[in-house]
Symmetry: C2
Subunit: 309 residues, 2 copies
């Protein structure tokens, strides 16, 4: 089985949506990526950090999904990273109510020995220096390195972000971030400019409007599945990234054609994530449901037009 190395936060989230409110629950980019990737045939490991306040049951939950947690450091006496946010009525925007870095402030990632030769590396949204620190520990060049980032690092650590971008194959960002990073409004022009910064493949996430995959002059689009109810968008982007990298790791194929399938799988996994609060839906999800929904994605997008003379 191929190996997927994930670096990303493992954290507490407190979430408010128009449909309800949670206390501190399991969250973090690494968690969502790991849960999503666990539906594929692969070996995965999460590199992250938590405090002594992090419940053993959450760690066991990851272990039970066959995720290697050797690289999940538990800091004695430390407090786990905490994020709290409130979604607006349309669920398309949110306000951050609180961010407590805690143990994340001094996080020094340690890649487990047997994942230094991972086939695929998923760099979840974190300070670019941490992402670079992970790449520096790899003993061989991975087949594919995927970078997720956000506007915060464009504002506060652009030089470091540009450094890590030179070392990755794929970048996943949302539409507004693509515009900020490139200075181009048109997403086609934005992707072309971001190509020149390093990543040969640019994935632009548009939330409920789907995701675009750019590679040179080629472009592919995966819609979001139209849902009756979106309950909580938290983690959807990370779940997308977990489906994308999970599928690629399993299939051992980093071609553009196969990446099309991978972003369909990313959208597929994300469509489940938003159906319940936090990680609830992903914890209980079954492979059978993923395959059934894949049929829905086919029905949603596949057509047969005979060309005319």
């Amino acid at each position: 089985m191929n190996k997927l190395l994930i670096v990303g936060t493992v954290a507490f989230d407190a979430i408010e949506t128009p449909f309800g409110k949670t206390d501190k629950i399991l969250g973090g980019a690494g968690t969502y990526i790991g849960l999503s990737a666990s539906f594929f045939n692969l070996q995965s490991a999460i590199v992250s950090v938590v405090g002594e306040d992090f419940p053993q049951e959450y760690i066991d939950l990851l272990k039970n999904k066959n995720i290697d947690v050797t690289g999940l450091e538990v800091v004695p006496g430390g407090k786990t990273f905490f994020w709290s946010g409130r979604y607006h009525n349309d669920l398309n925007s949110r306000d951050t109510l609180d961010t407590q870095l805690n143990v994340l402030a001094d996080f020094n990632p340690i890649v487990p020995e047997n994942f230094k030769d991972a086939d695929v590396v998923m760099l979840g949204n974190l300070h670019p220096n941490i992402q670079i620190g992970v790449l520096d520990q790899m003993s061989k060049k991975p087949k594919l390195v995927v970078l997720d980032t956000m506007n915060f690092w464009m504002d506060c650590a652009l030089a470091e972000l540009l450094q890590v971008m030179k070392r990755v194959d794929v970048i996943t960002i949302n539409d507004e971030e693509a515009r900020q990073l490139s200075g181009e409004y048109s997403l086609v022009k934005a992707a072309a400019k971001i190509h020149t910064m390093g990543p040969k493949y640019v994935v632009i996430k548009k939330g409920e409007h789907g995701a675009l995959l750019f590679h040179n002059k080629e472009v592919f689009f995966a819609p979001a599945l139209p849902l009756e109810e979106v309950f909580d968008p938290t983690g959807a982007g990370d779940t997308f990234a977990g489906g994308f990298t999970g599928y690629i790791t399993q299939s051992e194929d980093v071609s553009f054609e196969n990446m099309k399938n991978a972003i369909i799988y990313g959208s597929n996994m994300a469509s489940f994530c938003v159906e319940q609060f936090g990680t609830q839906r992903m914890e209980k999800l079954e492979k059978r449901e993923v395959q059934e929904r894949l049929q829905q994605f086919k029905a949603l997008t596949q057509f047969e037009i005979a060309l005319e003379n």
Copy 2:
């Protein structure tokens, strides 16, 4: 050849976008629908009204596209409907600067004798009573009636709109209008509610984010083609409707499967419309270009995933 009957405005537009500004140019829903549908093998006619100030060259332009203009009334001494608008920087929203109904205020549509048995009727955005007036003149039940409308009629003529909705097969509206009409935020729920108002097929246009086709529990999605530059969105929705109805008229097939193809063709035609000001691009467009772009739509959306065990 099958017959497509189009009712819709033929008008003057004055447009401002971040890229430039026009004086009074050819516009109107009927014009855009007619130009778009002219790329298919069919007979079409426009029912509309203009004033004496409407240039013969514009009428000749429609005639040269093989559009029957017997039902285009020219009111002696009358002035043509005029709309003026300014688009915001993102081109996703616009302000109406001026609307002069002029001859449209007393428009009494007359369906040409040889189009009273049209196979497909496209009711462009107009007062619902005018749309009903056209349906009342049909000598036999059309295979398909498609209705376009807008929020203005939901605000000012809802009772009449609900009447015409009971008599159509397909409604095309944008996402905000679907929400207003149904009182539902989720587009899946909105479409389900709009089904109960009459139309068996609901097309929800999301502009640069594509279009959804709903039919009972089934849903299909056509993306907008990602473009380097959008120059002027005016007429894109009508051009979409012209491609949709044009393809269906040509293919004589009103099944859901064929409607998938039709909304792909609608998106295809609309992707050209926005590339230049007003009707410029559609006037010069060639069939060859439409077929080439269809290949781009296939590359954008079609994928091959083998199902797992």
